[in-house]
């Protein structure tokens, strides 16, 4: 426990709007970021997530809206007064300074004396597990090390808000996976309000306390990772996070009917007559024989079976033509016994995994 900030700050965003020509980069966004939480802005490229981060940092001036850090309105405050740490996608380290020089930079700007500066640089380097690297030149560091230096530089002055713009996107997969866990630990240790931008849903699910899914400048859903994944609010979220097939269903009285048969669900269905059931590959199971009442059964024909080492994928077609996939773990010797293409199978989905969303007619997956 080295660099605990005095307190974290909540961020309040109200009616934030930014247009570029006719494109709404941000469209009336309201968002409350809790003090000390790790919030991820998740969305495809061009969704407005980076614009929102740049508004928070002060580099983009919105057309309208309000932004508060704690109780202070900061919408007109220049970036250098906002006192927030920021980690850039390409790190933006200063190549004309050493590692220590980079990390000392924000301390120097704050007029902190040499002795304390040096002590804090050493501590920050230890926090990001780069002890002893202070004298190195930036071009002597690997991608992962640069990432850590950028992080150390952003936290060394103990900002109460930390912004990160796809900081791991330049790293290879293994390093990325490790850094995700490390960033998560670091956040727990430092406790500052963290806003993280990514287009990688797995990264968002791994790291966040809450995820704000953004598309076309609008907030599509805000919630904890499990909420977002298990209870997507709409087709976009269901489609963008995880894989899913969509099965059209209808409400008839109190029942939800799928191809004439009632569908068992545990959560209440949303408004509207036309709905979609979300079928996630890993939530589907192969049924043999009897069907318990809490399982929804879907007769299907196998169209393809793919071996993927630790798991297998089975693509199947329902009677109404809906294509869906099932993924399961490959256990020893079981793969050879699986029904091959052309076989008739029954796929099961537990009632608690049967999630319904409104059919907003958004059409096929992008």
């Amino acid at each position: 426990m080295t660099e605990r900030p005095a307190s974290a700050l909540p961020i309040t965003i109200r009616a934030m709007t930014k247009t570029y020509g006719r494109v709404h980069a941000l469209d009336q966004v309201d968002l409350d970021i809790r003090s000390g939480e790790f919030l991820t802005l998740l969305g495809p490229s061009g969704s407005g997530k980076t614009t929102l981060l740049m508004v928070l940092a002060g580099f983009t001036r919105p057309d309208s809206g309000s932004l508060k850090f704690g109780d202070t309105e900061v919408i007109r405050m220049p970036p250098h007064r906002r006192d927030l740490g920021m980690v850039f996608q390409n790190y933006a380290l200063f190549p004309h300074m050493t590692v220590a020089g980079n990390i000392a930079y924000p301390l120097r700007l704050r007029g902190i004396g040499r002795a304390e500066r040096e002590a804090r640089v050493v501590r920050a380097l230890e926090t990001v597990q780069l002890g002893g690297y202070g004298g190195r030149r930036i071009d002597q560091l690997s991608g992962g090390q640069r990432q850590r230096v950028a992080l150390a530089r952003a936290i060394v002055f103990e900002p109460r808000i930390l912004l990160m713009d796809e900081p791991l996107s330049a790293l290879d997969k293994k390093l990325r996976d490790r850094m995700q866990i490390e960033l998560r630990h670091l956040h727990e240790q430092l406790g500052m309000t963290t806003v993280y931008v990514t287009h990688d849903q797995r990264e968002a699910l791994t790291m966040s306390d809450r995820i704000a899914v953004i598309d076309h400048g609008r907030l599509m859903q805000l919630g904890a990772p499990r909420e977002i994944y298990d209870r997507p609010a709409n087709r976009f979220v269901a489609d963008f996070i995880g894989e899913s097939a969509f099965l059209p269903v209808r409400r008839k009285g109190a029942e939800i009917l799928c191809a004439g048969r009632p569908l068992a669900t545990e959560s209440p269905a949303p408004e509207g007559e036309k709905l979609l059931a979300i079928l996630r590959p890993e939530r589907l199971q192969l049924l043999d024989g009897s069907v318990p009442p809490e399982i929804n059964a879907f007769p299907a024909t196998v169209s393809e079976l793919v071996y993927q080492g630790d798991s297998f994928l089975m693509a199947a077609r329902l009677e109404d033509g809906t294509e869906l996939t099932l993924r399961d773990v490959v256990r020893r010797d079981t793969f050879a016994e699986l029904p091959g293409p052309g076989s008739a199978v029954t796929l099961g989905l537990h009632a608690r995994d049967t999630v319904l969303i409104p059919d907003d007619g958004a059409g096929a997956a992008p």
Partner: protein, 273 residues
């Protein structure tokens, strides 16, 4: 001549096949330095006239130059004008280059072209134009007028050199500096400028040389107490041809090459920088 058949590079081209290239390069190099090679010996001649090669060697024309009040005054004028031009054109050009780079204005290219027009307009037109304007403004034959005109000529060079330097600079770094607490100006001076300093130093030296070497504009708008060295040299060449000019040229070559060496020493980023 086994050497001729040896490969000159990784691509199996032999030195023999490259022979024409070596000869051409040699001729061009001789052509480039020939004037210098002739002027320098001429300056050390004892003769009353310019002669090459000199029959008797002497430094009398250097003595004449350093002993002449008129030549010394012109030298001071030239050096002063060059220094002031450098001090004026460098910040202006760097500011313009930075502004155009950072603003991403759509009209930026247009402004860029407008700023480098002094390079494209024939020098003689700049000189005539400046002359008439200066007569009206009553700053003909003044240091102010000379420096202003030379700044106009030096600005495009500073702009181009600095803009090229900024192209390879990652503006995200400036954003990072600002997010860390630096005002825009502070970010520029602590992060941007140190990284484009090699371009800026080169630009400053070029600005100095632009003014120091300039003769056409100086012919029109410098004179009296503020006549430049180049202007006086031109006049001297017309009136009486004596080797003083060669010795002054030699000194100018020394100054110019000295600055170029400085530019090479300080104007070159370390590897990886």
């Amino acid at each position: 001549m086994r050497w001729l058949n040896r490969p000159a590079s990784e691509t199996q081209v032999t030195h023999g096949q490259r022979l024409w290239l070596y000869i051409l390069s040699g001729v061009i190099m001789v052509w480039l330095v020939a004037p210098t090679l002739i002027v320098v010996p001429m300056s050390f001649s004892d003769s009353q006239y310019l002669e090459f090669p000199p029959e008797i060697w002497s430094t009398r024309w250097y003595d004449h130059y350093f002993g002449s009040e008129e030549w010394m005054a012109a030298t001071v004028t030239s050096l002063t004008a060059a220094l002031l031009t450098m001090c004026l054109a460098t910040p202006l050009g760097v500011l313009a280059a930075y502004g155009l780079h950072a603003s991403q204005l759509r009209a930026g290219r247009l402004i860029f072209v407008a700023l480098i027009t002094p390079m494209m307009v024939p020098l003689i037109l700049v000189a005539i134009g400046a002359f008439y304007v200066y007569v009206k403004l009553q700053i003909l034959y003044t240091m102010l007028g000379l420096v202003m005109a030379h700044t106009v000529l030096a600005l495009p060079l500073v702009l181009i050199v600095t803009a090229a330097g900024l192209k390879s600079f990652d503006m995200n770094q400036e954003m990072a500096a600002r997010s860390l607490g630096a005002s825009r100006a502070r970010a520029f001076f602590t992060v941007t400028l140190p990284q484009i300093r090699f371009s800026v130093i080169t630009a400053a030296l070029l600005a100095f040389l632009t003014s120091f070497d300039e003769v056409v504009v100086a012919m029109f708008i410098s004179g009296g107490d503020n006549a430049t060295l180049t202007r006086n040299m031109f006049n001297a060449l017309r009136d009486q041809i004596d080797p003083t000019i060669a010795s002054i040229s030699t000194i100018m070559i020394a100054i110019t090459s000295g600055l170029m060496v400085l530019a090479q020493l300080f104007g070159k980023p370390r590897e990886g920088g």
